[in-house]
Amino acid sequence: VLGPGITAYLVLSAILFATGIVGVLMRRSPLIVLLALELMLNGGNLALIAFARQHGEGAGQIFALTVMVVAAAEVVIGLGLVVAMHRRKLALDVDEMTTLRG
């Protein structure tokens, strides 16, 4: 197998995932939260592809493709919601969206 070993990929993947988590937890703008979520998904994707390359199997790549499709769908809905919020002149702040409080 050419190129760097699996460790490097996994470390990068973990960094991406951790960055994503921090983004989701710390930021209040829904756009940034969606972005951070995307980072987490791609961290996962990178790990999947790294394992696929290590084992020489295609299954990991198929998983990664599926995750990308789901991520695309999710972004469509998420951005749609953000646009809807903007149109109704709501503050773009996830902490303000507490209608479902018990």
Binding site: V24, L25, V94, D95, M97, T98, T99, L100, G102
Partner: protein, 634 residues
């Protein structure tokens, strides 16, 4: 013949169904006709079956017929089957015959009652249940009839449900009968365990082989059956319901609480005589209980002031005679007395009903008196009933009672003591019967009578009078069926089914008959001295023995005793349970559960902050915990 038997059984049931479904679409008069017509059909069928049996060989007179398997559990199969033999035909004739007369009487007595149709439907239900009881071909079906007569008796006792005493009396009757039903069921369980079948044929043929005579099992089975018989027939100590049952309409008292249902216990003992003979000690107990009842009920009857209650106590006392008879093994004599008693006691109740009707529903004999001049026909009919009940020859009660007494005197030491009880009872019977007669029909009229007496044509309604006349004829002549020392038609007829012990003969018989006549005449004379001739004798006696009088008026304190023993502890327990268990726990628990759920929900809801990032943090930290757990486990 089998078809006729089934028609006999189901004809009153059909009447019940018709009346229940028709509701207001039949008139009251039609409802009465439906019931009496259906019972007449039953009687005609029973008579036809009787005629057919007569033409057969005496040993071949037992027939069984099964419609379908009614119940099956494991190896036990119980069919909807009837059993036609001399004993059941005898009972069918009495039940349907006397039943028809009383139901016809009731169409007159109950006319213009608010709920006449309901009454007639119940009455038909009763006749069906009673026929089921006597025709059943196995003990379980017999038990079904047994329970259903208890039910219809309950329904009819509190027929006038607006009267609290009537409702109370109905419940009392039902509960005491339920006690007997329970012991009956326990006996059946033992039989199933021992023999594995309940039909008469198998049980009676196999019981002597499989159950040892005098063994504990035999005693328990017989005791269970005896418990049922004692409760149903109102014998001491389960007798307290019968006097209260007089709250029901008078035809009900005549049919259910005099002529038929209360004699079911006698029928049961005669029917299951094989099982009783396996347990001689219980068999003797039946006789002893009967003898005790003769005296207790006879004594209490002396001081009662309600015309129907006097006759009710007399019924208990007369059934005591039947218990003595079947307890000693004189089944023929017992069944014979059952029949004549059905005639004369129904007659007495029905003439009492005419009196009650004529006096605007008054039942207290202290407000009667001098009615002989006003109601001469009723007086004569009542007199025939009274003479028969008091066993004055040649009326029917004389022959049947003497049949019992002359069987008893020749039946060993127990028999002789029973005979003494019987003779004492004969004096008492004559005394209380003629006390009633003299107080009601002789002497000075109470002011109440002058004010309220209203006579109809024939003194009562025609529908009420003609059945009484027929019963009076029967009460006068039916005794000749069985003449002590002469012939014994009833014994002969029943012998293939239940063999009776022989009656005394010769000098012993003459002695027994003479003693009973003397005893009865003594009672009548005493009654005349005390109540017929105007005088203060009863009051003087009462003043001299106040304790005795109170003891009798309180009916030997049986009601008070049962109140203390059973009712008071049960109601105390119920009160305690209500206060300590029901209110705090049962009634409190729904509120507690609801309140608990609500407060829990309030606390859980706090975690639902609506802050998206908090949820994400929860997910993330959960993930972190999982990672740590997996790593540690690895």
């Amino acid at each position: 013949m089998i078809a006729a038997s089934w028609i006999c059984l189901f004809s009153p049931a059909a009447a019940v169904v018709v009346l229940a479904l028709a509701g207001n679409r039949v008139t009251r008069r039609q409802a009465g006709l439906v019931t009496s017509g259906s019972v007449l059909v039953s009687f005609l069928c029973a008579a036809y079956v009787f005629g057919r049996l007569l033409t057969e060989d005496p040993e071949e007179r037992t027939h069984a017929s099964t419609l379908w398997t009614w119940l099956s559990a494991g190896d036990l199969r119980v069919g909807a089957e009837i059993w036609i033999d001399p004993l059941s035909v005898f009972m069918m004739l009495v039940v349907a015959g006397v039943g028809f007369l009383i139901v016809s009487y009731a169409t007159g007595y109950m006319r213009d009652d608010d709920e006449e149709r309901r009454y007639h439907a119940y009455k038909a239900l009763f006749v069906f249940s009673m026929l089921l009881l006597v025709m059943a071909g196995n003990l379980l079906l017999l038990l079904a009839g047994w329970g259903m007569v208890g039910l219809s008796s309950y329904l009819l006792i509190n027929f006038w449900w607006r009267r609290p005493q009537a409702v109370h009396a109905g419940k009392k009757a039902f509960i005491l009968n339920a006690f007997g039903d329970a012991t009956f069921v326990l006996a059946l369980f033992l039989l199933v365990q021992q023999i594995g079948a309940l039909d008469f044929g198998t049980v009676f043929s196999q019981a002597p082989g499989r159950i040892e005579e005098g063994s504990a099992v035999a005693v328990l089975i017989a005791l269970g059956l005896l418990g049922g018989a004692v409760a149903k027939s109102a014998q001491v100590p389960l007798h307290t319901w019968l006097p209260d049952a007089m709250e029901g309409p008078t035809p009900v008292s005549a049919l259910i609480h005099a002529a038929t249902m209360v004699t079911a216990g006698v029928y049961l003992i005669a029917r299951t005589n094989v099982l009783f003979e396996l347990a001689p000690i219980v068999h003797d107990t039946a006789a002893v209980l009967g003898a005790v009842t003769i005296l207790l009920a006879g004594l209490v009857a002396l001081v009662q002031t309600d015309i129907k209650r006097v006759i009710a106590y007399s019924t208990m006392s007369q059934i005591g005679y039947m218990f003595v008879a079947v307890g000693l093994g004189a089944y023929g004599a017992g069944m014979f007395h059952l029949m004549t008693h059905a005639f004369f006691k129904a007659l007495l109740f029905m003439t009492a009903g005419i009196v009650i009707h004529a006096l605007a529903a008054e039942q207290d004999i202290r407000r009667m008196g001098g009615l002989g001049r006003e109601l001469p026909l009723t007086y004569r009919l009542f007199l025939i009933g009274a003479l028969s009940l008091a066993a004055i020859p040649p009326f029917s009660g004389f022959f049947s009672k003497d049949s019992i007494l002359s069987s008893a005197i020749d039946a060993g030491a127990l028999g002789i003591s029973m005979w003494v009880f019987g003779i004492l009872g004969a004096t008492l019977t004559a005394l209380y019967t003629f006390r009633l007669l003299f107080i009601v029909f002789f002497g000075r009229q109470d002011p109440y009578v002058k004010e309220h007496l209203h006579k109809e044509r024939f003194e009562g309604r025609l529908a009420m009078v003609w059945p009484c006349v027929i019963l009076a004829v029967l009460a006068s002549v039916a005794g000749w069926l069985q003449v002590p020392g002469g012939w014994a038609a009833v014994d002969t007829w029943l012998d293939p089914t239940v063999e009776s012990i022989p009656e005394a003969t010769g000098g012993l018989l003459v002695f027994s008959v003479a003693a009973s006549i003397v005893a009865a005449l003594l009672g009548v004379t005493l009654a005349w001295k005390l109540y017929g001739a105007r005088g203060e004798a009863p009051q003087r006696l009462r003043a001299r023995f106040p304790q005795v009088a109170t003891l009798l008026e309180r009916k030997f304190y049986f009601d008070e005793l049962y109140d203390r023993l059973f009712y008071a502890p049960a109601s105390w327990l119920a009160l305690v349970l209500q206060r300590r268990v029901e209110r705090p726990f049962v009634l409190g628990s729904p509120e507690e559960v609801g309140e608990g759920t609500r407060s829990l929900a309030r606390r859980v809801a706090l975690t639902q902050s609506g802050l998206l990032r908090l949820y994400a943090l929860a997910v993330a930290s959960g993930l972190g915990v999982l990672v740590v757990v997996f790593l540690v486990v690895e």
